[in-house]
Each structure stands twice: as C-alpha cells, then as structure tokens.
Subunit: 902 residues, 2 copies
C-alpha cells in the first residue's frame, strides 16, 4: 500500500511544483536546489490543505506521521530537538499558495518556544531580551492568527510597556519589559480565547497548521481571490522552516530586495533593510527601513553576496525577483524569492532590457506585459509646469516615497469603508490616507484614485498593492500627522480636513494641496513601449482599428497604431451647435413637410457632414473607414418629454398661453407622438432609414462626395458604409439598393470611381442567427456588442448598472459585467454562429467588432479565436488591443504545444 | 426532338393535375372523365403562362401550333369552325390557377363572333336579340379585360339604351337595342384603346390568352395572393371551351349550386338559378336569382339530373362541391366543379356527416376544419333576447340574405378605401355597405366587421368572400336604397348616414339600427364541433394548456378542454382595487422601510393572493398550474412620470405647495428614481425577486398555503412555480433555494406534502443559448415568445406596431408579423437550441410555450415539430389549438408517407 506523500523537504521540491508546494514553497525549494543559503525545512502540500478542508478539518491519514518524521529530520540537521526544553528547535510556519496573495495569509514565528524553552534560549544566547522578545512574538502571533484574539488588545500592552519604560521603539524595550508583556499576553489569551497558550510545541504546531489551512477560506482570502479571479480550488501549502533571527542585535536584521527597480525597471539591487528586526517588521512599515544599498557601509560582504545571489536568481528564473532575506549575527539567509511585482513602466523596461540582455525572446517579452499596464502608461500625468509653479507657491504639502507612479486627484478620506462608499458607490474621486495600510483596507484602495501613507517603505503593504492595482501611491510620508479621531492631518503647520482635495504625484512622491491639471503622456517618447508594441504587431493576427467620429480622433487613433476606423458614429455630427439645424429637419418631417425636410438636408446637413467625412478620409489615407449611418431615434435630438410637460403645465397654470406656450405645446405633441416605451428596441437604425429614406440618402451622398473629393486630391480612400440595426435581410434588400444608387450617382457626377463596401452591424440577436441570409447582401459585418449584449441578456445597460447589474457582479450572480468583457457563452455563441454562417455564404466577408469590448483583453482573445478580421476600440485603447491581440496568439500557440507531444 | 405539351384536351386531364391545368381545368377534365355533360374544350397549361411571363410575353415555341390543332379538333367535334363566318365556333376563355381566387382572374365569352358571324348566328338561331346580346357581351368583356377600357363607359351605354327603350332590365332590351349598344361599344373601343375591335377570331383568341396570362401579375391578383399566402410562382392555366348559352330564352339559364348548404352544412342541393342569363349574370348579383330548388317547378327533369350529378361528384371527390351549370334550350351542361367554400359551422357539420356517411376517415375530417373556423364558431353572437326586443321595438331596419353568419357591430361606411382607413389604420369597427361588392372592395371587406349589400345572392361576390373571411354578411338586402353621393341609405322611411352604428346578424340576415350586445356561443351545444375536437385529441401529441389568471378563467379554460394552466400572471392580482395596497408596499420599500414592507406583504397581499390561488387550484383539480412570480417593473403600479410632472408643475406654478404638493413631489421623486429608459430590459422578473426577496417569498408562501389547503380538502394540486426573465443560471441558483425553503416550511406547517416543480420562463435570448446550464436548476421551461421575439428581433412591440412594424409587413419587408406567428428561423432557432440542450441535461424537462403564439396554428405546428410538451393559449383559443395540434400530426404523417416509397 502506497500512501500519499503530504510532506516535501525543501531538497525534494523545485520551481515547477508551485501547484503542490505553493509559490513560496517552490521558490524556497528551488533556491535550496541551486545551492543558495536557505534555512532548512519542509513543505506540507496544498493537497493536504484541500483534503483537510473537505473532511471537516480532519488531517488526512499519515499527514501527522510524515510531519513528525520531517521535524525529527530537521532537528537532526540543526542539532536541536523540537519540543526539547534543553536545546529547542524553533520554526516558522508560513502559508504559501500557488499565486502570491500579499498579506492575505498568516504566519507564526518562533514556534517551539514555551515557558521553559525561553529560559534555555536566553541562557544559550546570553541574550535574555532577545529570548523574551522572541517568545512574546510567538504568543502574539499565535494569539492573533491561531486563537483569533483581537490584536489591538496585544498592541496596547506593548504601547503601555513602552510608555512605562519611557522609550519610543520596541527594540529599546528591556528583557523584563518583554517578560511582562509576555505575561500579559498569556493573560489576555486566557481571557479572550478561554484557553491557555499551549506549552506543548507539538500542539502549537498542529494548531498552527490547522490555522493556516483554515485561513484559505477566510473572508479576506476569498474576497481577494474573487477580486483577482483566482480559483478557490487551489488550497495553500504550509512551509515549516528552521528559524533564523534578524533581531539578535545590530549585526542582525531583515530585508526585502528586488533584483531591479520595480518602479522604473532600472537594473540595480533595490530594496530595504531594517537592522535588529524580523521580516515582519520590514513589511509592516511600523519602522522606516534604510535602502538596501546602504547596507554596504556596514556589511559590504553581505551586500556583495546579496548582489551575487540576485544575479544567480535572475539568470535562473529569467525574470526580475523579489527576495526576502535575514542576517543572523552576520550570516546571510535567503528566506524567499518570487517574481517581483512592478509598475507598468518597469515591466516594459525590464522586458525590453531582458531581450537586449539575451535572457528572453521577444514573444516572451510581449507576453509579460499585461494589457492593463499599457493602459496605465497611457494614463494622464500632472502637467510638469503646473507642478513646478505649485512647488514654488508653497502648496507642496509634503514629500514621501514614490511608491507607485502616476497622478491622482481626489478628496481626502481616512478610512477604507468610507473610501469604498464614496468612490465605488457615489463615483467620487477620493484619496485614501492612512497611517499604514493592511489587507483590511484593500476594498478602499480599490475604490480610491490614490493612496497616501504616513509610515512604511517602498515594499510596505500600501506600496505593493498600489503598484499591483496601478494606483498612484506616496508612502512613508512621515511629515504627516494623521489624527483619525478628528479626521484630519497636519503637515508643516497646514491642516487638511477629510473631504479636502489633494493631488498625489506617485512618480515623484509629492503631495499637493490642490486639484492639479493633468496632461496626456507622450506616446512617441515611450521608446520601450513602442518596441514591445512593434514586436506585438509582428505576432498578432487580428487587425486593430479604432472608433473615431472626427478628424482629430482619427489622427490620434492612427498615431496609436490604428489600421482603420471601425466605427464612425455619424449622429455625433448632429450634436452641439448643429442640434438646432437637425431639430428643424425633424420638425419638418414630423409636420409632413417633405420638401422642407429635404431642403434642410440638402442645404445644411449635407455640407456639414461632407466636411466631417473629408477630414476623416484625409486622416486615414490608404486605410478603411467604416461609417455608420444615423442610429439613434430622432427623439433623442429633441427636448425631453418630461421637460416639455413641466414647461407647458407651468405656463398653462399661470394662464400664459401665448406664443411660447403654443410653440412648446406643438413640440410636446411631436415628442409625445415620437415617444417610445423602449426606445432601444424602437424606431432607429435602418428602421429609421427605411421609414425616412432621405436621411440616409443624404448621408451616403455626403460620404461619397467627401470620398470622391479626397480621392481627386490624391488620397487613397476606402469608405465602408455600415447600415445599423438590421434584424432581417429584407431590410438591407430595401435600403441598400437605394443607397448604392446614390453612391453610383455621386461617382458619376465626380467622374471618379472609388472602392467601397456596404455592410451591416450585427447587434440584434436575430441578425446573428440569420447571418447566412444577411451575408447575401452585406459585404462586411461589425459586431455591435453593446446592443447585442443588451438584447441577448435582456439588460438595458444604462438602467441596469444602477439598479441591479453592479449588485449582480458583486454577489457573483454574474461572473463579470457583460458590458466590460464579452459574455462568451451567450453573446459569444451568437458571434460564432454569425461568423461561421456569414463566411459560409460569403467567404470574403470582413468581420470586426466595434462595441466597447473591442478594447478589452479577454474579449480580444475571444475575437481572435472566433477568427474576426479586426477589433475596433477607442483610440486610447489601440495600444492595449495591439498587445492583447498578440497575447491571444502566444496563448493559442502554448495551448497547441501542450496538445502536441514533444 | 420532343416538344413540350402545352395544351391538354379535357379528356386528357384529371383532378390530380391542378398544378398544371389549374383548379378549374382539372375540375372540368375530371367531370369529363367521369362522363358528365361538359361542353368540350381544352386547357393551356400554367407552364405556358409562366414561360410566357418569363420571356417578355412571347409564347413558347409550339404553343400556338398546339392551340390551333386543339381548336380544329374542337371545331370538328362541334361540327363548326373557328373563324368561319358561316358556321362559327364560339368559345369561352377562362383563367384557372391551382388555387381558387374568386373574381381575381378574367373571362371572355362568345369569342369567335364578329360583324359577319353575328349575322349568321342570328340567322341560324332565329334569334337576332340573342345574337346581338352575345356579340355585345364579347365586345364588352374583350374591351374591359383585354383592352383595359373603363367598364363604366360601357355600362353607361347600356343604361342609356334601357332608358331609351323604357325598360328596367337587360333581358327586356330589344335586338336593335343590343345592335346599337354594340356599335357604341366598338366606337368606345376605338376611342379609348386606339384600335379597332379585332374582327379576326384568331387575333381575338391570341389577345385573350395573353390577357389571361398577364392578369396573373395584375395588382388585384398579386394583392390577393399576398393576403392569402399563395405563391406567386404558380401561374394560371387558360381554359378554352365551346360556348353553351344560358341566355337563348326562358328555357335557358345559368346557375351555381352547392351539393350541401354552405352556410349550415345541411345535406341538400343549395344554389341559385337565373333564367335567360349567362353565368356572369348570376355571380355579379345585378339581378337577384331564384333558389335552385325552385327549378323543379319549371324543369323537374333538369333538377333531377342536377341532383344526380351532385351525388356523383360528391362521392367522387369525397367533399362538398360548388358547381356551375348552364341550361341551353332545355339541355343541362356542367361548366365547373370545385370544392365548395363553406362557413365554419357548415365545415364542421359536413365533416362530421361525411364520417357518418362513411365517405371520409376521422383524421380527414379533422384536417378539413381550418383552425380559424373553430375560432369563428366560438365568436360571440347577438343576445337573442335583445334581438327579439329590438325587432318588437321596430329597430329592425331590414332583412336580407343570411350570406355569412355571425354578429357584427360598427359604423356604416360606403366605400372600401374609407373602410380600410378607419378599420385597419384607426382600428375602428366599421360595416361596409355597398350596392354590390367587387374584387376591388376586398381590402375594405378585410378591414370591416361585416358586409351589407343591396344586391346579390348567397353566391354573390360579397357572400363568397365574406364566408371565406369569416365576416358576417347580409346580402341582397333590396329594401336598402343606397345614395353614394349623399353618403347615406334609406330603408322603410329611415335614413342612416355614414358613421351611424348598425348591427348585422349574418346568421339570420337582419340589420338593426343599434349597437347590439353580444353573447358567448355555447360551446357545450356545438355537438359536431365537440366530435371533431375529440377526434383531434385522439390524434395530437401536444398537450393544450391555457393562460388564466383567476378561478373563472381557469374554469372556462377547462371547459374548452385545457389540460393545465400554462401561465397564471400573478401581477394581475395586484390590479383594480388592490392597486392601492400594492402601492403602499412599493412606497414602503422605496422609503427603505423593510418592516412596513414586510407587514403589508404578510397582512394584506398574502391573504389576497392565497385566495386567488385557491380558486384556481379548485378549478384545476388533477391538472398542473404554472404560476409565474411577479414579472413587471414596480413602477408600472405607480402613477406615470408624465402625470406627476404635470401635476407638480401645475401646483408649483400656482404657488400651491401644501400637503398635496409635498405628497406628489415625494411620489414623483420615487417614480423618477424607479424610471428606466427601457423598462422591458430593466428591473423586473427574477431581477426584482433577487433585489427584493420578500415579494417572491410572499408569493410562494401564498401559492403553497393555498395548494396545501386545497390538498387538505381533497383536491389534487400540481403547482409549478415559474421564475420569470432568467438570463443566467446563477439567478436561479440564488433565488430558487430561497423559495424552495419557503415551500418546505409551508408544507411542514400544514403537515402535508404536495407535488410541485420549480422552473423558468425562457424569454431572454441568452436563456435559450445557455439552456443546458439553466436546465440544471429548472424542472420546466416555458417559452415566453412575446418577450423572446421582442429581444431576438430587437423590436419593442407596443412602440413598433404603430411606428414601423405594420408598414414592414405591408411592404413585405417582414413576411409576417412576428408577434402573430413565430419567426421560425430566428426566434424558432433559439427555441430549438433550448429544447435540445435543456433536455440533454435534464431528459424529463417539461417544455411549453405561453406567449400569444401558443394559440396560432403555424406556431403550434412549429411547437409540435420542436417536440414541446404543450402549448398554452387564451381559453378561447384552446379548441383552435387542439385542432391545430392534430393538424400538425396529420401533416407530419403525410410528409413522412411522401418520403417513404409505397
């Protein structure tokens, strides 16, 4: 009978075993394997965790036996014994799942100590202060993590002791102080949990392992996984490792270091070190550490080792690493390594540099940049001139660490709940300001524009999470004095109340008391990004087009790399100062005055539209331009029913029934007549074109006059006329010949022939279901996935987000907001049907997408798999889409490679 | 080389050759074949027509040669010669396509006459009046049909001649009179058509055949085919037949006769005869004929022959026949036979009688009743007591022929265009009143509730078409004096103006000057119908359920044969006097007062709903009852936004801002908050249930309390709870367990267990596309094809019918109104997907339809083919659906038989 192997010594694992050993366990095993100085230990597998959770918290058979053997073997190596009072083996217990979830899982240090062993430790090290400090840490962490005692109660004890001894920081506390603290801790444990702190080290271990397992299903962890889309079926491993101590004096300490600068990407050892401290002290941000580079002044050999190890690890993993280390009495120990999180700018620079260094291939570089990171790089920054002036004018409040780059403006808010409420629910811009952040604050950080902390360094919780979320963060801004009671902070004599607007410059670490203007990033200047995108262009198969309604937008789209215009919304050309003209046309039509209607079209709107189109054709020389004919219902261009009812009722009640009243009354009657209960499913799109043909004919004339004029000027034009809202092929059979005739007439008048297409939006479910018929008329399809989603899902977007859709997403009733990422099994199935059946009838059919999904990476991958010709998105999203389209190819190739035996 | 056979002598054809020879040609051929007295002749095929129309009106090669041979052979048989002046062969030329289209196609009689032949005919018959009458008929018909001369000009000549001679009717006109008339006709032909009336009989024949061919594409014919769903690709045949004359004196005449009474179905020879007249005179209704039974007084042998022939034909065709005959100088000639049109009541009686007589099988009887005919039988009639009283009170205006049964009430309208405008476009009830009707009036007849004519008998155009359309008709009401100029009619001293309301009793042939109350038909008393429906029940596979919202409706549904309730709309239970209670609940919810909301639910609405459900369960003992949880958005129960804006604006303008204003203002703010741009796609159905669970919980409690109480009383209850508007299976995963828990609790409280199901509407496209997932939760599906059509087609029904949908159907952009008959390729495809994928996951899945399509025959056939378990429709449509479901089986079996070789 073979029993399951639940426990792996670090020597038995490797980097590829993340699924079984967790990320941390696999990292430690790999470091062990390549000969780095790692304290010995072993990992309990994720399988053991899952097994335990599924079996009412009962450990699987054999697990404890295997743990016991592993502990004995560990004791032998360390020449100590777990549970021994005389020569106690102390271990750390740390969780570690497949994906890194900073701060989400729990840790217990110094396990193995008890009332007897602490005395022996003090005796053996000759450092009673250290021994009692170690013991109180065990009791403190154990109480919090395993026994769920309120940590505030424990912190209060230490604060009282500090003030009793008259010192500022923990390292200054005396041995007796820590002994008193420990005694109080045990008292609190007894009162709060109803049990004694366990003196038996084996009992400590068993309870700690259980606690780690259970924390996998803790609310924080579940929320985090939901937010990040991580599966709940992975479980966490438990790493048990011989303790090394960074707090045995000033020749000891702990640190974290990145192999490259995670903010800029610069190749340098970047990190922080805190003397006489354990690792937890660095991450918590309670004391502000020194840059790791300054370690060279005190311990040059250690720094040199660290740099050597950094190079070894980077070469080994072919990626930037985030390392944790401890120095115990002058000896360097590596505790962890993992792929380091980085800003978007750093990600791009590192990827490009590593290609240059020959570490990785171009496709690998492309696939390492997340599409969202591109988006961050293209986000606005503060105007540098405004920044300078503000600094001069003294409205620079403070400087802190530039923990996460970017610009944020918002109202100061002092707690995460309020930030969530104001930011997410009310849609206000807020800046979360905290002494330091904890995992309990993540929902507030998500809702905030930026984060400002008083304490903590570049690797503090606030900094790490902010970088991951792409939010600007200024950390460790010690000049701030935050008063949570009075809900304000003071800095250099200035008081800032909750609700006041400040600006955060995460790139430079500055805080301003003002709402600063922002400017566009200069895409041209992002040389590394340009390289990545060119590499992506070489990989992707989807073309990337853009939605643009005028010349400037088209120019910007092209600047960002758009290879065509996938959607030009002509109704936007009837807005602003042109609304009055268009209204007069609508009223003429409503009055059954076709001559006047036609006159306004011919004499006014035709000229305006022609000029708009001409600008776009000029911007898009050689590239296709898809122009959608008028789509919205006409009443959208008239005053609202509600406003007119109110105005006429008011006038009537005042007895004022003169000209104004009569005019409003007439307008009201027209608007009432045009009113629809569900305008989205009403008289719009090609239905309007069919019921009122002069409108579409005028538009097609304007398009072809502009296109022919541009062609005569030497511009290579490719107009594609898109007929919206088709539900039945007969609609195209009625309207398309009318419009083709206009096109032919204009080309004859202008004496030039240009290439053009007629096609349709696929945005009604029936159009997708009958795509074969529709492709008999349409030369191209463009998926209008906004409307297609609304109708397929039966959800009116504008109404629903406010009324139930966001609640649905929050309660996980819908896995995602279907207006952000295509609902692949519902809406996507209709798209697949349309592509397949449309191309079966017309193999040359050009198919694209012009809904907002065209710029969303998962949706782009779906479009690639569904074999669309292009995606079209907003100009700003074009670079994102170029990258996402390349990712889709890389992912597909990887999947294929996994299917094909080597 | 074999050439196509374009011409078939009557001896060469048979009844099965309708497609090639047309209905009339096949009928004549069959009569010839079984030895009845038929004037000899031949048929030019429908293929010849199609060929000619497709080839720019050029006859196919050989056609004319074959016609020439056939004419020569006909001349030989008749011992006359076509084109001979001395012994001229006269023929009729009649159209006849596969399907009968009364009055739609054209006829020319007496072809072969000319200026010379007329003299010879007069000489030979010794009847110069007859000869000139025959010649003027030829010129008159030829002018109208072939040369398209305005027939009014010709009629005016005859009217002038009548008044010149001082006679009332045409048969009284003298030979000289007809000679003068003929001369004038030729003059008019010359002036109007720019050519002489052709003297060459062969030229007459060629032009007449061309004219018949072309009339296939005439506007009237095309409109009729569109209206009746007849293919445009059939073409018409041309029947050329030796003339026999009913107008050679008073021992001659023409008649039409049915083998059974087409109004009641009674087995008797039923028809009309007009002495000294050609067939056209009978049909036109210009003179009122005598019943055919009275023929026995003058010509008993002829009547006996006719009865013998009727029996022969009925036995031969196994169906009631509609025969045309002519008596020429005492000899009976059969001109045509075809399946006779009949009223719904007659159809049912004839079908049942023929089964009893052993003529047909039950399945054949069932398949002969059209579903629409059932509907007619269940239409309301006038209350007989009200009728009696009216007759006593002298408001019976007149009696005419009971040409088509049923009751109609509406405003008098004197022309078809106005009837169409008022009836179809304005939706008003109108009665079309005409001296007589022609095919040009059909659009007005379609739009009218009923038809009243001054002239014409039971086989006049008005009567035949009205019976076909199922519209009540009183014909030949000679007491009426219609004044089209002044737009009124007078009758027995009473003047009725256009626009006045009258009532028509088509069953008894009475006209009343009043709007009469109507009563329901007594379904129980329709014994023959009951037989047909029981036979249908034995054939069909679909169950027929009904939509019913309360006890009385459920009782009625069961009375009509419903086997379950497929849709009980619970929102109807919140209307009427209960609206105020439900409003107070909504306001409590809007005010964030869950306690008050719950209190109103528990104390008021629960009791009301429980009592409603109890009534329904009692009515549906042993049968399933599908109850849909609240579906519409809550704002539908509140005053409209528009009304509140107007009310508050008016009060504010008057400075009246007291309590009423405050109350309205509060209501307005709630209504504004609830307002949705597209409420159909908004917060309704299960979305409401999820956001506001107490509502659905109260409903489920009411259902189960009622069901358990009923069960305790000994009623066998089968509630099925239907959750509306599901778009994602997770919605069911959230709400269904909550509701199942309520169900379990109630059953425990009541101490009884009942059988029940939970299921969902499939009315959102995505639900159909993900039916496999949804079937994991739902035990039944019910297609809500109203909403499913709205979303799949992107059409808001209420808005669209007014704005573009009816125009689309009229312009044939949509083949049918998709809200009347299921759009099988779009919406239907989603249904097929849902059935297949739902049953794949849950083989026991019960699937039905509860949209309005559930009572529409084509849609029912589709549901049968798609293997639904049941259709659910309004109680009145249940009998229709029972029959249609049987038809679907019969049709399917016939299709299978055609596929399997015998």
């Amino acid at each position: 009978m073979t029993s399951t192997k639940w426990v792996y010594a670090f020597e038995e694992g490797c980097a590829e075993m993340k699924e079984l050993l967790g990320g941390k366990g696999a990292g430690i095993a790999e470091m062990t394997r390549i000969g780095l100085p790692v304290p010995p230990g072993f990992t309990i597998t994720t399988q053991a965790c899952l097994h335990t959770l599924e079996n009412e918290h009962e450990f699987p058979t054999d697990l404890w036996l295997q743990v016991t053997w592993a502990m004995e073997s560990l004791g032998d190596r360390m020449e100590r014994a777990f549970g021994s009072d005389r020569n106690p083996l102390l271990v750390s217990v740390r969780s570690g799942s497949k994906f890194s979830m900073p701060g989400m899982m729990d840790t217990v240090l110094n396990l193995g100590l008890n009332d007897q062993a602490v005395l022996r430790l003090a005796e053996k090290t000759g450092d009673s202060r250290f021994a009692w400090d170690a013991y109180r840490r065990l009791v403190q962490m154990f109480a919090k993590v395993v026994l769920r005692v309120d940590p505030g109660l424990l912190e209060a004890v230490i604060a009282a002791e500090r003030s009793g001894e008259g010192v500022d920081t923990d390292p200054e506390l005396s041995a007796e102080g820590w002994q008193r603290v420990t005694r109080s801790f045990k008292q609190i444990v007894r009162e709060q949990s109803g049990r004694e702190f366990p003196q038996d080290p084996w009992e400590q271990l068993e309870l700690a392992v259980h606690a780690v397992f259970q924390s996998w299903n803790g609310k924080r962890a579940v929320d985090y996984r939901n937010a990040c889309g991580i599966s709940h079926d992975l479980g966490t491993a438990v790493n048990i490792q011989a303790m090394v101590f960074g707090n045995t004096g000033w020749d000891s300490g702990s640190g974290v270091a990145f192999t490259r600068n995670p903010a800029s990407g610069e190749k340098m050892l970047y990190g922080e070190y805190l003397g006489n401290a354990q690792g937890e002290d660095v991450v918590s941000g309670a004391r502000t550490p020194i840059p790791v580079s300054e370690l060279g002044e005190e311990m040059p050999e250690i720094l040199a080792s660290l740099i050597r190890i950094a190079t070894t690890l980077e070469t080994h993993y072919r990626d930037m690493q985030d390392m944790e280390f401890t120095i115990e009495n002058g000896k360097l120990w590596m505790l962890q390594t993992r792929t380091g999180k980085r800003t978007a700018a750093a990600a791009v620079k590192i990827a490009v540099d590593m290609v240059d260094e020959g570490l990785i291939e171009k496709a690998e570089a492309v696939s390492r940049i997340l599409p969202e990171q591109i988006d961050q790089l293209l986000h606005p920054r503060f105007d540098p001139r405004a920044l300078q002036e503000l600094e001069k004018s003294g409205r620079l409040l403070a400087k802190g660490l530039n923990a996460s780059p970017g610009a944020a403006v918002g109202a100061v808010v002092f707690d995460a709940d309020l930030a969530h409420r104001m930011g997410k629910e009310d849609g206000k811009a807020v800046i979360l300001v905290r002494p330091e952040t904890t995992p309990d604050d993540v929902h507030g950080m998500l809702a905030a524009q930026g984060i400002l902390t008083q304490h903590g360094g570049a690797t503090s919780h606030a900094a790490v999470v902010a970088r991951q979320l792409g939010k600007p963060c200024v950390a460790g801004c010690e000049a701030l004095k935050i008063d949570l009671e009075r809900r304000l902070f003071t800095v250099n004599g200035t008081t800032v109340n909750e609700g006041s607007v400040i600006s955060l410059d995460g790139t430079e670490g500055r805080v301003f008391q003002a709402a600063l203007p922002t400017i566009e990033p200069d895409f041209e200047e992002e040389k590394d990004l340009q390289k990545i995108l060119r590499w992506a262009d070489g990989i992707r198969k989807l073309e990337v087009w853009a939605n643009a309604d005028d010349g400037p937008q088209a120019t910007r789209a092209r600047h960002y790399g758009a290879e065509g215009i996938g959607l030009c919304r002509t109704e936007h050309m009837f807005l602003g100062e042109r609304t009055a003209v268009f209204q007069s046309a609508i009223l003429a039509a409503a009055d059954n005055n076709p001559a006047e209607f036609q006159r306004i079209l011919d004499e006014q709107l035709l000229t305006l539209q022609r000029s708009d189109f001409h600008d776009i054709f000029r911007a898009m020389d050689r590239l296709p331009v898809v122009i959608r004919l008028l789509d919205p219902p006409l009443h959208e261009f008239l005053p609202s029913l509600e406003a007119l009812v109110e105005a006429t009722a008011t006038l009537a009640a005042k007895g004022d029934t003169g000209d104004e009243y009569q005019e409003k009354k007439r307008l009201l009657s027209i608007v009432q007549d045009m009113h629809e209960f569900n305008p989205m499913l009403g008289l719009r799109g090609c239905r309007l074109g069919i019921m009122l043909p002069p409108l579409n004919k005028m538009q097609v004339r304007a398009i072809f006059e502009a296109a022919c004029d541009a062609a005569l000027e030497g511009i290579d034009v490719h107009p594609e006329i898109m007929i919206p809202l088709t539900s039945h092929v007969n609609e195209l059979k009625v309207i398309q010949p009318l419009l083709e005739e206009v096109a032919q007439n204009v080309m004859e008048e202008k004496g030039i022939t240009i290439s053009y297409k007629f096609g349709t939006m696929i945005e009604i479910p029936r159009a997708a279901l009958t795509a074969g018929e529709i492709a008999e008329m349409a030369q191209f399809f463009s998926f209008g996935t906004n409307d297609l989603t609304q109708m397929t899902y039966g959800i009116s977007r504008d109404d629903a987000e406010r009324k139930f859709l966001l609640a649905y997403v929050e309660q996980c009733i819908l896995p995602k907001n279907p207006f952000q990422a295509i609902d692949q099994i519902g809406v996507g199935r209709l798209m697949e049907i349309a592509v397949e059946e449309g191309r079966a009838v017309r193999p040359s059919l050009e198919v694209g997408i012009c809904g907002e999904h065209g710029g969303e990476p998962d949706s782009i991958e779906f479009c690639h798999r569904t074999k669309l010709n292009y995606v079209s998105c907003s100009p700003y999203r074009v670079p994102v889409a170029r990258l996402a389209a390349a990712h889709a190819v890389v992912k597909e190739q990887k999947e294929k490679e996994q299917l094909v035996p080597a």
